[in-house]
Every structure is written in C-alpha cells, then in structure tokens.
C-alpha cells in the first residue's frame, strides 16, 4: 500500500476531532495534508464557489476544500449525521460532503464514510471504512484507529476544557467490534480558575469552528485577551452540566448546540461566573436564529449581566466589529454612561473594502 497524501480541510468539526483523524491516517502510513489557517483568499474562494444561502462557516469550509483538492490524492470529508445518540448535526454540515461532491469539479478520491450515532455507526467504524478504502487491511486499520483514539485521549486541550474520551470503551469496542459508541467526548471537571480581582471575565458563546477560526471570528478571543479580559468558552463547561441546565426545556433538544449555548449560559449566570456574555452568530445560521430566542429568554432572568450578540457575515468589516466590541467592553467595565445596559442586536454591518489578507 503506497503512502498517499490525505487532505483534511481545517474547518467545521476538524477543530474538535483533529487528533483522532490526523493520527489515524498517519498511523496507516499516509501523509496528512491540512489546509492552512483560514485566510482572506480561502474565504473568498469559498464565497465565490459555494451556493449562496448557506452559512458562512460552510462557505469557508468549501474554500478550504477548493484549496486542498489539487494537492492531495484523497480528501477526508466524513458525513457527520449524528455525533451523539438522540441528536443530529446541523443539516448543512451533514450534507456538506454531498454539496462538495455534487458541485465541485476536479475532485480526487473522496472518503466520505457515515458517522451516525443514532443508528450505531460510530466514529471508529467510519475511520475503519476510510482505512479499508485506502487499501489497508482490517487489522492495521484497527491499530491505526486505536492510535487516533489514543491521540484524542491524551491530547493536551487546545482550549480551556479538559476532555476525556471514554478510552477504555473505545479500545474495547474496536477490539470486539461492539456497536457501542466508541468515541464519546465527555468533559472532565470544569476547569474554572477563580475570578481574578480587577479583571473582567466574559463568556463567549458560539460554535467551536467559528471561535477557533481567527478570520471567521475576527479573532475575537485574542482581542479580548489583549484587552486584559479573561475568556470562558462553552468547552469549559462539562457536557453533563450544560445538559442539566437545559433539562427543564420540555421539548426534544435534537441539536447539541442548545445545551452548548443556552445550557452553558444558564450555568455561567447561575453561578456568577461571567461579567458579560457575547454570542457570536454566523449569518444564515439556521439553528442560531431560533436558539437566540431561547437564550434571550434565559438572559432576561439575569438583567444585570450585559449581553451582546455579534453577527458575523461576509460583508462585515473588522472596524465595525471592533467598534461594537469596544462599546460592549465599556459597558462591562462600567465606564460607559449606560451601565449594565444590554447592547441590542448589533446586526448592521459595513461593506468590506477588500478581502485580501
């Protein structure tokens, strides 16, 4: 079996599963090629090439695939249908590989195995399928998958969460072909440092693949840190705690991001962990448009905590974003005339002069 160049776009769920995917393919003996960090050029290609009415992160991911496709022998674009029993992944991400396959020309071999925890198709199964499609035998595929799981377990977290995979379950299931979910990311104890006096702590809500992307998020977290503000993100709250905080909602929460946004916010507010909340929304994000309403319902019980929804779209200019952020920080610090006011829906955006970065 020859060593191939496997391309994985640096977008969407890559940010969460990077060690698992990368190490599995490396252990199979292939070279893993990642697209670079998002740049203005990549985003532009995505905006031009992708269908119009999808959200900004998906268009950005499309740009990453466009960037990669000519340099690699195969692309890994798993069909992420469900990542946790009883839930779905957002439709646009579910069908993203099909969107690529159906509208992009000149693609190399595309590995698009299904991951569907609602029907027992686990992450391990998908990676095994990918390995076999590349010509690996069943045993070496399983060993490689084990290496990937080990990397995910032992990996130092890139963000503040402490994520522990049910590793023993993972190893056991791949040894015994069991149908149990083999990769269930559970956060460990909440990584909470005591609130430092004289410094403000802001809770930033949003998708991981937006917050981890400096172009899509306008580098929000870095900007806040440079302003001497401590930042908490949804990963710092264990999944069980977030779920418990949305358990009172009387309907089927089939998107995990309800817990990740509403549950996390409620937890922070009930335990006074934050001095303000920023919600970074992407333009045209379907789930966010309605979850926003549920979030604001929770927030109205805590009127003294300032809240700022920031909408990022492809026409937004950084200067406008910066202005709104600074205004909000003034309110949080109490240096604004309108103390503890809520910065209302900051959705107006200015035209972007040039996208070249």
């Amino acid at each position: 079996m020859n060593a191939l160049r496997i391309g994985i776009p640096r977008s969407l769920y890559f940010h969460r599963y990077r060690p698992l995917w990368v190490e599995t393919f490396r252990a199979l003996g292939h070279e893993v090629v990642l697209s670079p960090q998002t740049s203005g050029a990549i985003l532009e290609r995505g905006l031009r090439g992708c269908v119009h009415d999808v959200c900004l992160p998906v268009k950005c991911a499309y740009g990453h695939v466009l960037h990669l496709k000519n340099d690699v022998d195969a692309l890994f674009l798993p069909r992420l249908m469900s990542l946790r029993r009883g839930t779905y992944v957002c439709p646009k991400i579910v069908a993203f590989p099909d969107l690529v396959l159906g509208t992009m020309d000149g693609l190399p071999q595309v590995l698009a195995p299904e991951i569907d925890y609602r029907h027992g198709k686990t992450h391990t199964d998908a990676l095994l399928e990918a390995g076999r499609a590349l010509g690996a035998g069943p045993f070496s595929s399983r060993v490689a998958c084990g290496a990937g799981l080990a990397a995910l377990t032992g990996a130092k977290p890139a963000c503040r969460a402490r994520e522990r995979v049910a590793a023993t379950a993972g190893f056991w299931s791949y040894l015994t072909k069991s149908r149990a979910p083999s990769v269930r990311i559970e956060s460990g104890a909440e990584a909470v440092s005591p609130r430092r006096p004289g410094r403000k702590t802001l809770g930033v809500l949003g998708r991981r693949y937006v917050l981890a992307d400096s172009v899509l998020s306008f580098d929000l977290i870095e900007k806040l840190r440079r302003q001497d503000v401590d930042v908490l993100t949804p990963e710092s709250v264990p999944a069980a705690v977030a779920d418990e905080n949305v358990s009172h909602l009387p309907f089927d929460l089939y998107w995990t991001l309800v817990a990740e946004v509403v549950g996390v916010a409620r937890h922070w507010l009930r335990h006074s962990r934050v001095d303000g909340i920023i919600f970074l929304l992407s333009f045209e994000c379907g789930p966010d448009s309605l979850i926003k309403i549920l979030l604001e319902d929770v927030l109205k019980d805590f009127p003294s905590v300032p809240y700022c929804p920031l909408l990022v779209d492809e026409h937004a200019a950084e200067s406008g974003f910066q202005t709104r952020l600074e205004a909000f920080l003034d309110i949080v610090r109490g240096t604004s005339i309108a103390s503890s006011a809520v910065v209302h829906d900051a959705t107006r955006s200015c035209p972007r002069p040039s996208a070249k970065v």
């Binding site: 999808v54 069909r79 957002c90 646009k92 379907g286 309605l290 549920l294 109205k300």
Partner: protein, 365 residues
C-alpha cells in the same frame, strides 16, 4: 377551551372538524395576508425562516381573537421546525399573552392522539379516535378535490370554472357533520370537479411542484403558485399531501410507502438523508417526476430553508443527469407576486417550446 392553529391550506378545515367533534370551541384566524406576515416578522429574529414568521403572525391574530390554546406542528427531523413552538411560545409570552401551546407531530399520529385525548374535555378514547378519523377522512377528501382542480385547471374551457367548482366542492365536503354522510359528499364533490368543461384533446405540459411542506400546502404563502401555473396552462401535481402523510404514518397507505421508498432510493446518489425533512425527498421526487414523464419541476421553499437549499444546490446536477428542468423558487416576507409571476411565465414558455430548448432559470425572487 378556545383552540386555534396556524393555517396550512385545507388542514384548517380538517382540524376544525376534529376540535368541533371534541366539543372545543375553534377559533379560525383570518387568512394569511401580508399584514399577518409583517406582524410575525416584526416579532421574529430577522434570520428566522419564513414559515416561522407567518405562523407567528397567525398565532398573534388568533390570540387577539381570544384563543387560549394554540396547536402547532412540530417534527422529529433535522430542521428548524422542531424549534418553532418553543421559540414562538417564548416570544408570545414575552408579548404578554397567556395561553397553552400544544405541539403535534404529524409523523407520529399516536402521540398527538394522546394530546387530543388530554384536551378532549373528558371524552373517551373511542370518541377521540372517531373524531380524529373523521377529521382525517375529511382532509383526504379536501385534498382529493384540490388535486383534481390542479389537474384540470390547465384544460378548462371557461377561465375560472375550475376555481368556482373547487370552492363549491370544498363547501360540500365541509358542510358534512356526520361521518356517514361523508362518502356521498365526497362523491358529489368529485362529481362537481369532473363536470367542469374541458377543452378536448388538450395536452398541457405537466409540472411537479416539490419542496418544503408548509410552502406547498398554504396557498397564501406561495402566492397561489399552483393556481397561477394552472391559469398559465400547466397541469400541476405536488408532492406533499398532509392527509396522505398521516395515513402513511399509521401504515394505511402502502402505495405511498412504496413511493417514499422509491424517492429515497433515487435521491441516494445525491443526498442520502431522510432525516433532513423534505430535502433529500425533493431531489428524489424530481428524479421520479422525470422518469414519470413530467416536463418540469418547481422547487418551492422558504428563503434559506436549510434542507431545501442543499437540494437546490444539487438540482442542476439532477437536471443535467435526468433531463428535467427545475425552477427553484425561494419565498420570504420580502418577495412579491409580480417577480414570481414573471419567472413562472418564463418557465412555462420554456416548457411549451421544443424540449431541446429548455434551460434552468436561475436566481431568487
């Protein structure tokens, strides 16, 4: 209990039947107008989907008329519809209305039978079931009449005759109060439709209207698209019939299930996600329509509907590989009738021309 519900085409009449038989007072909101939509849009986030805003508008109007219970559809699938009722409940409560929200999942009729029983005012299971069955049978009769009207309108000799017959036929079925009178009323209604004089030997182009369920069913939201196409001389059929869906969900519609399986199979090479509400289905239905000899398809969706946008992105491939032109029509609160009409006229002109000359008409309203 004063029950109300958002409009969804002839479903309104079926629902009213059920609640009247359960002894509940039913408040029928005024038909959906631009005013309704604007009212809903005013209180919704900008990026919420169009049916959300329209149904919210109707709910506000119902609550203003004194309703204290709202019945709203929900779904177990992977789109925003499952979040409509919680979000709408939050908005309406923040506007100061006191009411009860009753979500029902049309794909799971057993669950909403339980809801009907709860609000049946002490009626027995037998009576609740009987009311449900009566409402369903009426709904099926309404849909049969509607389907006939869409088929014959293109061939009518006297312009407007079909619409007049349609209204009369619907009235006949609507007036039925006892289940035993329903078969006779249905036969009479079908007779009224079949009595419409047609141009002999006419062979109009046939178009399948597919896409998102709500937009397909509610004529006031799709600018009477199905009627308009008929008036332009096109025979129309559509893919989403709620009565048939419910029948299929209780396993009484074998032909429907076979068709659904076929649609899923045909869509598989393009989009293999039956969970995405009507997304994969739209592609599958377009392919089946091509194989059944339809001349074209219209993909009707609310603006930015997630599953349908994915279907839209792939429909040019469907056109290329199966030869059926597909016109995507995305509607939201800013759409207007004139723009839609122009696009439909262009599309029907293309269909009437030599089949080699068709091309996909692109863009949004």
């Amino acid at each position: 209990m004063r029950v109300s519900f958002p409009h969804m085409g002839v479903l309104t009449l079926g629902m009213r039947t059920v609640f009247e038989r359960l002894g509940q007072e039913c408040i029928v909101a005024p038909p959906v107008t631009q005013k309704t939509i604007a009212l809903g849009a005013k209180h919704s986030p900008e990026l919420a989907c169009f049916p959300f805003k329209a149904t919210l508008g109707t709910m506000i109007e119902s609550l203003e008329m004194g309703a204290d219970t709202i019945v709203m559809a929900t779904i177990g699938g992977n789109c925003r519809l499952g979040f409509y009722w919680p979000a709408q409940q939050v908005i309406l409560k923040s506007l100061g209305y006191e009411f009860l929200m009753l979500p029902i999942n049309y794909d799971n009729p057993i669950s909403f039978l339980a809801e009907f029983k709860r609000f049946g005012g002490g009626k027995s299971w037998r009576e609740v079931l009987a009311a449900f069955v009566f409402g369903l049978r009426k709904l099926l009769a309404f849909e049969e009449v509607e389907r006939l009207s869409m088929r014959i309108r293109a061939r009518e000799k006297v312009k407007g005759a079909t619409t007049r017959a349609y209204r009369a036929a619907i009235g006949v079925v609507d007036r039925v109060r006892e289940p035993r009178d329903l078969p006779r009323a249905r036969a009479e209604a079908v007779g009224i439709m079949n009595a419409v004089e047609l141009v002999p030997g006419a062979a109009p182009p046939r178009v399948k209207v597919l896409g998102e369920a709500f937009m397909l069913m509610e004529p006031n939201l799709n600018f009477q698209l199905q009627v308009t196409l008929g008036e332009m001389g096109v025979e129309v059929d559509r893919t989403y019939w709620l009565g048939q869906r419910i029948k299929r969900a209780v396993r009484l519609d074998r032909a429907g299930r076979r068709h659904a399986e076929r649609v899923k199979r045909e869509a598989y090479p393009y989009m293999r996600y039956p969970d995405l509400c009507t997304g994969s289905e739209s592609l599958g239905e377009a392919i089946v329509a091509a194989k059944e000899g339809f001349d074209g398809a219209v993909l009707l969706m609310p603006f930015a509907c997630m599953p349908e946008v994915l279907a839209e992105s792939l429909c040019s491939r469907v056109t290329a590989e199966h030869g059926i032109p597909v016109l995507p029509v995305a509607i939201d609160e800013h759409s207007d009738d004139g723009g839609l009409r122009t696009r439909l006229e262009a599309f029907t002109d293309l269909l009437k021309m030599d089949s080699d000359a068709f091309a996909r008409v692109d863009g949004e309203i």
